[in-house]
Symmetry: C2
Subunit: 321 residues, 2 copies
């Protein structure tokens, strides 16, 4: 088994940016991704990545992917199931195979939250979706709902309004919380209606979604006919791998990193949405920069401590740390 | 006099990225720049900005500039000479005019270091240059020197080798310190010679540079004939404005910021090369992300405290903080 200088887990902007710099530091680099893209790929039109006035999220991530690929970085498409650490050596199991690295960058992002109501999984892909960019065009002239009140929900509703005949934003709160430029845009679209203080209680329809039951009636009716329902109610950090390594998390389960993306565990770095690096601001540009910082810290670490892993690989027993 | 929500001082990637997000937060935004570009503009070919496999530095900064301009951000080209703070109001004097803002982002970067030897200023632009990207093509088939041993010097020498017949890297140290990918590239260029443990003592030539005197002879001769001499020996943060506001600096005079680019002074934020945000790693991508974070912090601050400045503007006397 080869020993990589750094193993990066993740397939989004942060992982790829970490890969870009790792390769430029001449480190033997492996990226393990469940799928290419991360949040960037689902972000529809991106207008706030400095240097691109307007670019499709999937297009941007594809460019990053090509940029890293051109440097000869090895990439494996598989879910990283587990990771273990022995002194300064990490073993990552992904798709049934083991990979060994001298350092580790966790750039695994977040998992989208679900509504947590009956039949949600059953109707996923049959009217229920978690990605407006991906599935919006499927609903033709239909009527769709968007559950949520944050930036992703607002941007998603704006996007959906370009495809469908009517969009209901269904939000339990009293005030949307989004970038002002997006709130203003949303308010100018007549086909968007916002239902405040409202939650979806039930999903209607047999093989495909036909509508929802609301906990707060709209126009005197608690049933709302819909062809599609999009869910953008936040996300939770994918913290399993970090936990198994003893990496410290904050009260919301984000990996705690310092300004150079170091965690409390030697040889383990983290970047992007899974971390607390930039608080609630999770952007493509911040994730990319954090990936670059994580790679830089990993590089310094491997120069300093990487030989422990080499020794280990040759069969020596290292003293326990 | 109008009161801006935020005044950004600087003309590089960090200032423009701060402007981009400030505008998207619907803040009345003014950017005061001595000139457009910052370090990015002088960086020759950039291959490590995620999303662009290869782009000329000036081209990248031009795109950022257009992106911000399209959002209606006001930009003034002038040197910001002084700044004062009264409660939560800032007055910036630039080019003889006063501008008022509710918050301030310092993204003023660093000043290139000079050799500090006689006639350096006199021969600047007559053979002595601080920007290989800008002036490299002027030296045709000539012989040039590059003083320095860091990443900028190494990248500069690689670039110069594409134009000229011979490049001498003149470095006082014993080992170049640069991104490994660049060191490797440099080592493969036969027309580049590296003179270690060597410094330039004197500049030769009357109206234009003809050569230099070295403190450590090369091939038995302490005189080296050169058509051009490039200087890449580091840079110092532009700390004057920060100092005048009582902003805390580290031991190397970089502005101390937290992970959201807040300084110790209310309403004052900083980003990019002038800060300690990412340690010694000063990259386009990290500067851009820091600008975004500074704008986000300024936005929160203006929502919370900006009204103090409004009140002040209407002539009320505010209690001293």
């Amino acid at each position: 088994m080869d020993t990589y200088d750094v193993i990066i887990i993740g397939g989004g902007a942060s992982a790829l940016s970490a890969g870009l710099y790792s390769a430029r530091y001449n480190m033997a680099t492996l990226i393990i991704m469940e799928e290419l893209g991360g949040e960037t790929a689902t972000a529809a039109t991106i207008e706030n990545y400095p240097g691109y006035k307007s670019i499709d999220g999937y297009d941007l991530i594809t460019r990053m992917h090509e940029q890293v690929g051109a440097l000869g970085v090895k990439m494996v498409t598989a879910r990283a199931e587990s990771v273990s650490r022995e002194n300064h050596c990490f073993t990552v199991t992904a798709g049934g195979e083991e990979h060994r690295g001298k350092s580790l960058i966790l750039a695994v992002g977040r998992e989208r939250r679900k509504l947590g109501i009956p039949r949600e999984d059953e109707l996923r892909g049959r009217g229920v979706s978690y990605c407006a960019t991906c599935d919006g065009p499927l609903f033709g002239e239909g009527i769709v709902g968007m559950v949520g009140g944050g930036d992703s929900a607002v941007k998603g509703a704006i996007l959906l309004s370009q495809y469908v005949s009517e969009v209901f934003v269904i939000y339990r709160g009293e005030q949307l919380s989004s970038e002002p430029i997006n709130l203003e845009r949303l308010s100018r679209i007549p086909k968007v209606k916002i239902l405040y203080k409202t939650q979806v209680k039930e999903l209607l329809g047999d093989n495909e979604l036909k509508g929802v039951v609301l906990d707060n009636p709209y126009n005197g009716n608690d049933r709302l006919e819909l062809d599609g329902l999009f869910v953008e109610i936040g996300a939770d950090p994918r913290d399993e791998l970090a936990r198994s390594l003893g990496v410290e998390l904050d009260e919301r389960n984000y990996i705690i990193v310092d300004n150079m993306m170091r965690t409390n565990v030697d040889g383990v770095f983290a970047s992007g949405d899974v971390t607390n690096a930039s608080g609630d601001l999770k952007q493509v540009i911040t994730s990319a920069a954090q990936g670059v910082l994580a790679a830089t810290s990993a590089y310094k670490d491997v120069i300093e401590h990487g030989h422990f892993c080499e020794t280990h690989a040759r069969g020596f027993v290292l003293p326990q740390v």
